[in-house]
Amino acid sequence: MIEFDSVTKIFQEKDRVFTALSDISLSISKGEAFGIAGKSGAGKSTLLRMINALEEPTSGTVTIEDTTLNNVNKIHLRSLKKRTGMVFQQFNLLYNKTVAENVHLPLELHNHPTHLTVEEALHFVGLKDKKDQYPSQLSGGQKQRVGIARALITRPDILLCDEPTSALDQNTTEEIVQVLKKAHKAFDMTIVVVTHDLLVIKALCQRAAVLENGELETIIDVSQSNKQTADRPYYERAIEVLGSD
């Protein structure tokens, strides 16, 4: 369980004070796929980054599985990050490492008792044949698959995705959504997805928070369409997306 309790984040710069998040309280259950929606600058990334302590609340608390992050020491934080995977908008791969080396990287940082092999992780995202290539030789969608494989190899309890499809085109977005969906089913983990793309949340998440100007507007239960988006004809999707109000 991930719990935000009255979390406020204020960024202090030289000549301005900026409230990125104000008084956010919400809780995400274990195993849930949770979306955080909002326009650019709404505070989505800041909220997400608090879950693995990349960002610290100015006030309020973030609690992960009974551990309140505000008062844990460095070693404990490391072990928390060890159980959390992260997927980035710009993939953040090391361009001087091969696909296999990139995916293996998290295993070199910590001792993980249960983890996937590089082959298993790459097989899962459908990139087994690319393992000796370098990221510069891959398409955007393939790079993001590498990013996902790298996050999954440690078998994380929590997977954080920050705009995982925002650098990709529509078709590739759907592919990546399917990979994340499959991962959620297969690995029994909590997924938190930040995106401005409502369709991604619709396809992937059970609930979603909507942020605006650092404030939590509402939390919605996402009504899942049973129909698999990717399998349906384009015109049907066009009617659904464009025709509904």
Binding site: F88, Q90, N96, L105, L109, H110, S136, L160
Partner: protein, 228 residues
Amino acid sequence: MIETINLYFEHVLEYLPRMLESLGETGIMLFFAILAAILLGIPVGTLLFLTSSGNPMEHHLLNRLVNTLVNIIRSFPFLLLVVAMQPFIRQIYGRATGDPIAASFPMIVIAIALYARFVEQSLNDIPKAIIETAQSMGATTWQLVWKFLYVEARSSLVIGFTTAVISFVSYSTIMGVVGGGGIGDFAIRYGYQRYETDIMYTAIVLIILLVGLFQWLGLKVAKILDKR
């Protein structure tokens, strides 16, 4: 014409043993400078990067201190640095003049400061997202440096190193003033002071070839290492 060429080769042959000896002295000075650049220049440059603001080991005082030190050494006219270091070298090495090892001390100092700057610059060029990724994985600072930063910076580290070594060659040519010898000193002594112009130009061409070789080798290695 042929006679002139023959004469030239005879002349060079006559000076060859002394020329090779000078090259050996240059080699000794470069060796120490290169060793210092790698063993100390890289850590100092990394420290400069890590302690600068917004980075994982942010520390204003330490950063300011090391930064100032590097600036002072780099802005010191090298000839004056050599002279200023004499008492210090005598203290720890026993003698300050007359051999290439004594002459290596100022080379070491400038090598550390010069390459540290290049290393800092190389690390600055890495996208901040890489640091964030390492932190999101819970990497220690040590792991960040070795498994992320040096990996992504490696080809620019090599290019900076090449540029630094070429500067070391240049610095080494004036070490004759403290009897350090070297190929530069050779060119000055035989060519400039004893009017053996052909010998001087031969030595200069040799230095240019040496620099060219470093340049070529450095770019080649950097290219092999760069997969971006």
